[in-house]
């Protein structure tokens, strides 16, 4: 279980350091796959129906559907393959390290019962959420923002895992639905921005009214 959690954090770091969009999307798919294994391990028996359903659901959405969707919009938008961060990749990586320290030093404020999981899951969830924020604010392209949003959602999903035994279905379906809706909205945004302005750089959004 530790392996999975460590792997989830590492994939977010790869996303912070990756300079190509395609590798970012591949990493978010990998992270989704790792996350979807977690509910399987939460139950005492491996073949628990609810856990299996959650696994299938989250795996199809997080590891297959969304990356496919993102790759398609990447292809159709015909954008440059580079990430174009606002601050340099070095600084985002250092920022990621700082965020990690923050997450690990403040986990005591979240006294969550993490029964089937090791307590490492709380700082891991916190770190994933914060790295998602970092990705959101430090990248300009809409596609990378979707990726940041997905990482954020993955962090929320990790938090949700700690509640799995108490509120099983509602929490999980809520998380999945939330994510699905979010990605669709962002995806549609990507298309629209692309269609209208021929590229998907969000810095231009702030200048809309000044164009003459």
């Amino acid at each position: 279980m530790d392996w999975l959690i460590v792997g989830i954090i590492l994939t977010s770091f790869v996303m912070l350091g990756a300079s190509r969009l395609a590798s970012c999307i591949r990493m978010v798919a990998l992270q989704g796959a790792l996350l979807s294994i977690l509910p399987l391990l939460a139950k005492p028996s491996f073949w628990d129906f609810h856990g299996l359903l959650l696994f299938v659901g989250s795996f199809t959405i997080k590891a297959l559907a969304i990356p496919f969707f993102l790759f398609r919009s990447l292809k159709e938008a015909r954008i440059k393959q580079e990430v174009e961060p606002v601050v340099s990749l070095h600084m985002t990586l250092i920022g990621g390290g700082a965020v990690l320290v923050l997450a690990f030093s403040s986990f005591r404020f979240f006294a969550l019962p993490t029964a089937p999981f090791p307590s490492l899951i709380v700082p891991a969830a916190l770190a994933t959420v914060l790295i998602g924020f970092l990705l959101l604010i430090s990248r300009t392209k809409a596609i990378t923002q979707v990726v940041g949003f997905l990482v954020l959602e993955n962090g929320v999903f990790l938090f949700g895992m700690t509640l799995l035994s108490d509120f099983p279905l509602t929490v999980e379906m809520g998380v999945l639905l939330d994510l699905l809706v979010g990605v669709f909205v962002m995806g549609i945004m990507v298309y629209h921005i692309n269609r209208t302005f021929d590229h998907i750089d969000t810095t231009v959004l702030s200048k809309l009214r000044d164009i003459e």
């Binding site: 530790d2 590492l10 770091f13 990586l93 250092i94 990690l100 320290v101 490492l120 700082p123």
Partner: protein, 307 residues
């Protein structure tokens, strides 16, 4: 502390004689991947003998520092080697010797940087500046890695750390992270391929090789020898993370040592064959990523200790 002479002598013997052999293994592996026959395994020894029989030529602008530096480098690397347990116990160990270990290696780097600046060649100054920059990054990660080890084992001596008394940590994610991190540090510190190419002689891109351009004959031999010894030390340190050596000295531990270090050398050869050098501007990012991975390992270790 009981003192037995045999392990001590064998430790010194291994440390002094074998390191160039593993450079030969790396060269052989790379040759295999390139489809060549490659130099013989003992080529580095032949090179060393050849260099020691030559005379040295010194630049007229250089001060005596240029002549002293290779000796300092060999001496510090060798003493650092005495602190690291490679077969059973280390010959010398005391509380806190891991800091001495790190700083002895840093002293060797300092000497080579000073010597490079001393010659007054602009190329060597450039190499020295790069070495200092990348050294600063990798040293940070190296220290943090040692801290992780110290926290895990509650020990401050390399000897005690690598005895792994109660914690046999091989299959924990933290140790895989650490192994990975130490492996990258190994590549950085010994100027292997993703960071620096030991075979290149294009002054604009090389790091380590450019600093020793003004050395010739026995001095160059000493530098080559100490470089191989440093590589040997790092390989021993890194492999000990995944394959700890036995607590007590036995004859068989020499065999396992050679086996694991030869495996490591093959791994380095494969990495070097499969990768191209990074662009110079990419290297800091690579090293920062490595540093962050070490920070992550430290946090997880402290966290697991706390709960």
């Amino acid at each position: 502390m009981e003192f037995s002479a045999l392990p001590f002598i064998i430790h010194i013997f291994i440390l002094a004689i074998t390191p160039p052999f593993f450079l030969g293994i790396i060269a052989k592996t790379k040759a295999f991947f390139a489809g060549r026959k490659g130099p013989p395994l003992l080529q580095v020894y032949y090179d060393l003998i050849k260099l020691f029989r030559k005379g040295a030529v010194y630049s007229k602008t250089a001060s005596p520092l240029l002549k002293v530096a290779p000796v300092i480098i060999v001496a510090t690397t060798f003493v650092a080697g005495l602190l690291l347990p490679i077969t059973g116990k280390a010959p010398f160990h005391f509380e806190g010797d891991l800091i001495l270990f790190a700083y002895l290696l840093a002293l060797a780097r300092f000497a080579i940087i000073l010597a490079a600046l001393d010659v007054g060649s602009s190329f060597e100054g450039m190499g020295a500046s790069r070495e200092a920059t990348f050294g600063a990054f990798s040293e940070l990660a190296f220290f943090l890695g040692l801290v992780v080890l110290a926290v895990t084992t509650n020990a401050l001596s390399l000897n005690a750390i690598f005895q792994w008394e109660s914690v046999h940590p091989t299959l924990k994610p933290v140790f895989l992270l650490l192994f990975f991190s130490f492996f990258l540090i190994l590549l950085t510190e010994n100027s292997r391929i993703p960071i620096d190419d030991p075979n290149t002689h294009l002054e604009l891109t090389m790091i380590h090789e450019v600093m020793v351009l003004d050395y010739s004959g026995p001095d160059l031999g000493l530098i080559l020898y100490s470089a191989s010894m440093k590589l040997f030390l790092f390989m021993a340190l890194t492999t000990s993370l995944l394959w700890p050596q036995p607590m007590e000295w036995e004859w068989i531990s020499i065999g396992t040592l050679f086996l694991k270090i030869a495996g490591m050398a093959v791994a380095i050869g494969i990495v070097e064959s499969a990768n191209a050098r990074l662009r110079l501007i990419k290297i800091p990012q690579f090293l920062i990523a490595n540093f962050v991975v070490t920070v992550f390992a430290l946090l997880v270790t402290v966290f697991n200790k706390g709960t």
